[in-house]
Amino acid sequence: MATVQEHLQSLMGNRVVETSGSSLTRETWNRLRHNRIALVGLGVIVFFVLIAIFAPWLAPHDPRATTWFDQIRPSSVPGPSREHLLGLDESGRDMLSRILYGARASLIIGIVSLGIGASIGAAFGLLAGAFGGWVDSVIMRITDVMLAVPGLLLALSIAAVLGQSQVAVMVAVAVPNIPLFARLLRSSMLAERQKDYVNAATSVGLGRRPLVMSHIVPNSLGPMIVQGTLALATAVIDAAALSFLGLGSADPGVPEWGRMLANAQRYLNVAPHLSIIPGVVIFITVLGFNLFGEALREALDPKLRR
């Protein structure tokens, strides 16, 4: 009998055995590592962050210096050349330097506004999800009203009253994120609450606060991180849109990608590079965030298999 059992064991060992579940983060990281799209997106993000941080060292010239204004004519703005790798803008400034410093502005505005919006939103969502009842109803009505105004328009109205500054843009872009994150966290929490482990924990006497903070919230973090990445992409675009419309820094010399596109409008026919360069830069940056965010979403979703 013993030999039969041993024989069986060896045969069964031949079969492919699935690795037992590692933690969610490790599993997600594994999936991401092998996803080429995720890596491309991450690469773009890292590149963007690096040039934003090191702009002062990378930029060949002062982005506000209009030193080369004498080269500008009404019907000609110099494009890329050896001296100016990305050409000049319509006021005689070096495009490359402006793009690099503009990355700084976009990064800072994006991160700060997302941070503010996501924190406030998550706080509201936490309250709504944890307390339920009338607290939940009130918060939901407020988010309903905020969501009734399309995102950019909401940001626009707020930036308009706050005045002409980059801080105003930061606050303005933060606001549409509030209802989004509030809803997200709340619905994640509600979904988790339905799950059996919550009933089990409550039945052994676990109080509300530890239940929420140590169990429910960590499980709700996944979708929030995905949303955060995608919201950062939107924040960069919205900030650019607001500066395109004329909001943002009061000083016209400050390099902002959106403002550069606005100025390019008049010269579209003669100097398309004024539009193409900042536009493509915004596109690639945002694409990086979107690619990574989507890959992250796929990696975190256990059901999804492409």
């Binding site: 950019l152 328009l153 109205s157 707020i158 596109f283 694409l287």
Partner: protein, 334 residues
């Protein structure tokens, strides 16, 4: 069914009230107070005091709010600071332009997006599918004002296939009955005007509609993929139904639900994108109005314009809710 619609309409009221509340306090956030909102930032203190007394800005807040609600209900948004015209008049004069553009963009987005998503879903994992996914991710990453500029540069300025700005050639005469150029051309039986109108709609429509198209294509693909795996599709196959019937009657009708929801939500993007697109193409709608008002600090217009567009958005979502109930009989129970 009717009860459903009425219930949904009633839900609108708190939202509209909330919106008015938001905007009421919005103008009071201005450094100079609400008088600045009406007069502009260069107002002298005397004028401000005058306006304060006139409009009762020095009265208790609650009284002001009630009066404000009354004015909003009567669609009185005040006077534009820069244009010296009545805001409400301007809004109504210009909204057909924006609606026409928005409808054109959404039509483009749906007519291209849904079939694209459907085809990608049916050929899952093929090169068609992979390209579609990447393309739609790229589509949502491009800023609409940049896309508008690029399209204008390539197709209007360089290739001269389409006009660069405006809704009609300036030399063309068209009797403005509804201010919807398409309708007016048909009424006047002016085929030339119709053609010209459509030509002017192409570039801004494509620019504005591309982002919604990308999202609609993705949602269609995801929705169809999910439906294709449903048991009832297998039942339909087991009954011997043909592929095309299954696609139409069983797959599409069930896949439509999330698509319709997304179309409703995308309208918001469309309306805010209109502000940017209209600026690039000098379209003459509410979008361009708002964009100009931002630069000029013309608060009555910003307030009126944003409120107007928000209400349109809310109404569209209401329609989507109703449509949802029409498509899915299970919703009607709630």
């Amino acid at each position: 069914m009717l009860k459903f619609i009425i219930r949904r309409l009633l839900l609108l009221i708190p939202i509209l009230l909330g919106l008015s509340f938001l905007l009421f306090f919005w103008v009071r956030a201005l450094p100079g107070g609400p008088a600045t909102a009406l007069l502009g930032e260069r107002a002298t203190p005397e004028r401000v005091a005058q306006v304060n007394a006139l409009y009762g800005f020095d009265k208790p807040v609650l009284e002001q709010y009630v009066k404000y609600l009354g004015r909003i209900a009567r669609l009185e948004f005040g006077q534009s600071i820069t244009l010296r015209k009545d805001v409400t008049d301007e809004l109504f004069r210009r909204f057909p332009a924006t609606i026409e553009l928005a409808v054109a963009a959404m039509t483009f987005a749906i007519c291209v997006g849904v079939p694209l998503g459907f085809a990608a879903a049916k050929r899952e994992r093929s090169w068609v599918d992979n390209t579609a996914v990447i393309a739609s991710l790229a589509g949502v990453s491009i800023p609409v004002f940049f896309l508008a500029q690029i399209l204008k540069w390539i197709f209007a300025l360089k290739l001269n296939w389409f006009p660069t700005i405006g809704r009609l050639q300036p030399t063309r005469e068209l009797e403005h009955v509804t201010n919807f150029n398409i309708i007016d051309s048909v009424i006047a039986m002016d085929m030339g005007a119709l053609g010209d109108t459509l030509k002017h709609l192409v570039l801004p429509g494509i620019a504005l509609g591309t982002i919604p198209l990308a999202i609609i294509a993705r949602i269609t693909r995801a929705s169809v993929l999910e439906v294709l795996n449903e048991d009832y599709v297998r039942t339909a196959r087991a009954k011997g139904m043909s592929r095309s019937v299954i696609d139409r009657r069983h797959v599409l009708r069930n896949a439509l639900l999330p698509i319709v929801t997304v179309v409703g939500l995308q309208t918001g993007l469309l309306l805010s994108g209109a502000v940017l697109t209209e600026t690039v193409f000098a379209w003459g709608g509410i979008g361009q109005l708002i964009s100009g008002a931002v630069l000029d600090k013309d608060y009555p217009i910003i307030q009126g314009g944003v409120l107007f567009l928000a209400v349109v958005f809310v109404l569209v979502n209401l329609t989507v809710d109703v449509l949802y109930a029409v498509i899915d009989p299970r919703i009607r129970v709630h």
